[in-house]
């Protein structure tokens, strides 16, 4: 499973956001893409997800699950129903109840299982976001600012979860101090191109 990007270019009006990105994201590897806000990190994800037009080539092998930044599910839906519906959209999940129970326990959300999303805090909503994408059957996991709004304990738990995950994981974040450089290949988008900062050998 992989994502192969060849000479990806994207402009908004006269502004060139991505100026020819080429990179091969390999199976089972973990990548962290850093860069300032507005530098094109989310644009890269949107191109991978075919949400925008672009020039160049993106070849994807494998199913993708995605956690958008600050995504809001309907506030009148319960936490359980939201996760159940959205993570099983493409296919059913084997042993879903157990997997969900474990994740809810890990993120201390068991008590909120039947709560409406509108009653949850920003951090709790972000946890729902992450659980949903984590549970969705896929070989590739794309996470846009996954740690935003999380407390330090939840950040640590989530990063441990990702560390053990066997999928190709790509995370974008403007702030990388929470991530361990030994667990991720760190890339940076600067001036519309991607460059490698550090690599796991």
């Amino acid at each position: 499973m992989s994502i192969d990007i060849i000479n990806l270019r994207k402009s908004y009006g006269k502004i060139d956001i991505l100026k020819g990105i080429s990179y091969n994201f390999k199976d089972h590897k973990k990548y962290l893409i850093k860069g300032e806000n507005g530098i094109g990190k989310s644009t890269l994800f949107k191109a991978i997800l075919h949400q925008i037009s672009y020039l160049g080539e993106i070849n994807i092998e494998g199913r993708i699950s995605y956690s958008p930044e600050g995504f809001n599910f309907p506030p009148y839906m319960s936490l359980y129903r939201t996760i159940k519906i959205f993570s099983t959209l493409s296919e059913d999940i084997l042993d879903f109840e157990n997997k969900l129970a474990n994740l809810l326990k890990l993120f201390k959300l068991e008590e909120h299982k039947n709560a409406y999303l509108g009653s949850l805090s920003k951090g709790e909503k972000q946890k729902v976001n992450l659980i949903q994408s984590y549970l969705t059957p896929s070989e590739i996991l794309l996470l846009d600012e996954p740690l935003s709004g999380l407390d330090s304990e939840s950040k640590e738990k989530f990063l441990n979860l990702i560390k053990k995950d066997d999928r190709l994981v790509i995370i974008i974040s403007h702030e990388i101090s929470n991530f361990n450089a030994n667990d991720f290949n760190i890339l940076e988008i600067e001036n519309g191109i991607i460059k490698t900062i550090s690599k796991i050998h």
Binding site: L49, H50, Q51, I52, S53, R63, I64, Y66, P68, F71, N72, F73, P74, P75, Y76, M77, I85, F86, T88, L89, S90, Q132
Partner: protein, 246 residues
Amino acid sequence: MELLKPFQKYIKTHLYYLLSKKNVIFISILNILCLFYFLYISGIFDGIGSIDAKRDEYFNRFNNDYFFFLKIVYISFIIFISIGYFGREYAKYKELFIRDKKTKAFFYITKYISIILFNLFELLFLIFNYLFILALMPYGRFFISTFRAFSRLFLLGIFYLFFSSFFLLIFNTYLASIISMICYWFSFIYSQYYEKLTNGVKVLLLLFPFGESNNIEFIYGSFHVMIYTFLLILLNLFIIILRDDV
């Protein structure tokens, strides 16, 4: 049944977004108000004895007022619902569905099916309302042509739903729905004077269908509206698939 499963899941999700708390409250209030209005125009509050002598007159007046009101409120309601349903703010969840053109088409086809189903339920509710009032009226009679009128109303609703969605796609602003409202009102007013109209206006009425009289008869026939609606749905889908910002 396994093949239908993804369809069911997608439709269920669309309906979750469509039936938001705000929409449910709005729809409920509107339906209750309509029911009261229909009860009022049915004449049952006037006392059975007083109406008995003029039962035909009352029944015809009720039928006239009922369908006249429905033609305005039902279509306006559908255009209003389409603003929210096809607006960008309500489409953010597509990020979790769409991965390529195929999934994009699947997402929007199921979205269309969901709104058609929703309109069908609303229409069934209106038919139930109508039958309920007829049951209360000692002089109420049900004609099979009334069912045809309801089905034509449904077709007209679906047409304006996608007509409105088309303008939303083109102009990308909620205000675009006003265009479909104006077109509907145009046909509403002018179709009453069809015989006196110039050919140019008649051509415009070909573009903006309208149901005349209690039977909601289309000037150019139901087949014309069906074909036109189908083409409109295809055009909407075509724009959606081609455009990357939708």
